[in-house]
Amino acid sequence: MATKEPILSARDVEIQFSLRGRKLTAIRKCSLDLYEGETLAIVGESGSGKSVFTKSFIGMLDANGSIIGGSIMYDGVDISKYKTEKEWMTIRGKKIAMVMQDPMTSLNPLKVVGKQIQESIELHQGLKGEEAKKEAIEMLRKVGIPNPERRYNQYPHEFSGGMRQRVVIAIAVACRPQILICDEPTTALDVTIQAQILDLVHSLQKELHMTVIYITHDLGVVANVADRVAVMYAGQIVEYGLVNEIFYDAWHPYTWALLSALPQLGIKGEELPSIEGTPPNLFNVIKGDAFAPRNKQALAIDFVKEPPFFSVSETHKAKTWYLDPRAPKIEQPHSIRRLREKMRERS
């Protein structure tokens, strides 16, 4: 995949929010390449900047936030320089659409769902009136809603949470976007419904040739759907690679910590590991590796100098001094090796 040209390429993006006169740097020189047709998962804890980073691709940052550095190249244009609504209109929906976390609040409660889907069809597919209505019904059928003709005329409160998320997906997909950003699409849903929604997005992705970005903190979701994974911490991507490389050969200590905390890896009777401490305060300037204060095996240099990306393989890079040839030899933790062994046994 690395040989392909990326369809969207973010370079050293910096995003700042001003809160009561103070500056909070939510995204600190973050870079990301997105390749056509892939499914990329961005994982990280709350506040790591996953949502903010992807929201900047469609100009949906809150009013007090702005991109202060770097570039986001899409279709040969640096969209990070877009300022006006008119400019963003050429991207929003048309090229990049988004599914948000909470289906309970994502729909207008006073409009029948069919009309809400129809709105996006009329905006982006050039259909009007009856034709658009027909297409909206078709869209409802496509996202797996039984009885679409009848459902077209119902209001959001007449739908269950899972059904509403299907409608939200229908609205986003009806724009026929090239890139679909799913911001924790299953967090608010039942576990059994989660799998259905993931399947639905997957099948729509194939049918409509979309590129999908998942934002999630659920590694189970990642393992199921992603081709590639990017791990975010304190406003930066700290490690990225193919899903197998991240799950079975991770190198960043934060990725280790995340994976070790997977309940599936726990040993009966032992306490499940957790990451001690809290993420750094983004109001302050961060020196060195942001994760160092929480890393028991941190090197001296971690506190002084920010590490660059080191290659593990062609597709797998990690931003940690552990991979520097001069670093003392550090073994991957037990749990990561156990994961790898488990996988070997299976194959």
Partner: protein, 316 residues
């Protein structure tokens, strides 16, 4: 729906009945002298008064009077005014006045709804910019300056500078109602602007607006198609009530511009112990209040599909 309406109406009837009974009983506690006009009191001897009272059934035991009173109500006979306009049926006394009050009231609601909501929309559109601040200044001004002061300003400006009549006259209702209308609308414009802005900003911050933006809808269309209607729901609930309550007129404005409306009638009739007028006014106001709330609920149910007044399996 029909079942609900009937039930709700019956409940309202009981409420009105209780109010009426209490008022009736309280008024019967007044000295009997107040059943006569000032003139009659001067002329009549004690025997004449007793005779009159006996003839009118006012010396009967209270329960008997109460039953008779209910009977009159059913026949929509509200009696006659004794002191405000001696011998004229109460319905007539009120009727001519409420027409004037209601006409002014409804026009003023129309004006303030249009202007107020428009100001609210502009304030939302230009939030934290000059139009918004101007609107806020207006709202604060109207609400903090005592009504009589702002009415006086309107009066002075309107009559001195614009040469508009400062007194209402029935012969010249058009121009002479301009200043009363301005005063009536002033406060409600601020009210509608305030709530429109508030509810619109509430809606604007909701997730579904984000989704609408993400799908590429422009702000103008989001405002008209999504925000405005949703923001209007809570305002609409109070609309019928405020329209109906215009019948009651505004005490202050009507006094100020000598509009012969309903405003001063209740206080006048209480001051002058015109029991029949007081009773009828109380019935009228209670009914208007109850019907207004009911219509508000129905209206809200019509525009907000989430609200059903009838629960599943019977009335709520």
């Amino acid at each position: 729906m029909i079942k609900y309406t009937v039930k709700r109406l019956l409940q309202s009837l009981v409420t009105v009945l209780i109010i009426v009974t209490i008022v009736f009983l309280l008024l019967r506690m007044l000295p009997t002298d107040y059943y006569f006009t000032e003139e009659q009191l001067m002329k009549f001897t004690e025997e004449q008064k007793q005779e009159q009272l006996l003839a009118a059934g006012l010396l009967d035991p209270i329960p008997e009077q109460l039953v008779r009173f209910y009977g009159d109500l059913v026949r929509l006979d509200f009696g006659e005014s004794r002191r405000i306009q001696n011998g004229v049926p109460v319905v007539k006394v009120i009727g001519s006045k409420f027409q004037i009050s209601m006409k002014l009231g409804i026009i003023s609601i129309g004006i303030s709804l249009v202007i107020g909501v428009l100001i609210g929309i502009l304030q939302t559109r230009y939030k934290n910019r000059i139009p918004d601040h101007l609107g806020t200044i207006y709202t604060i001004f109207v609400n903090s300056v005592p009504a009589l002061v702002s009415y006086s300003l309107v009066l002075v400006f309107g009559s001195r500078v614009l040469g508009l009549p400062s007194m209402y006259s029935t012969r010249n209702p058009g121009p002479s109602s301009i200043l009363p209308l301005v005063c009536l609308s002033m406060t409600s414009i601020a009210w509608y602007a305030l709530w429109t802005r508030r509810y619109m900003i509430d809606e604007l911050n909701k997730d579904y607006i984000k989704l609408a933006r993400v799908k590429g809808l422009e702000t103008k269309k989001i405002m008209t198609r999504h925000v405005l209607r949703n923001a209007f729901v809570p305002i609409a609930q109070y609309l019928p009530q405020s329209i109906l309550s215009t019948i009651g007129g505004s005490l202050l404005v009507e006094r100020f511009f000598s509009v012969p409306g309903m405003g001063p009638l209740l206080t006048d009739s209480i001051n002058r112990y015109d029991t029949n007028v007081v009773q009828t006014l109380v019935i009228l106001y209670a009914t208007l209040g109850i019907v207004g709330v009911f219509l508000g609920d129905v209206l809200m149910m019509i525009i907000d599909p989430r609200i059903t007044l009838v629960g599943k399996g019977g009335t709520r």
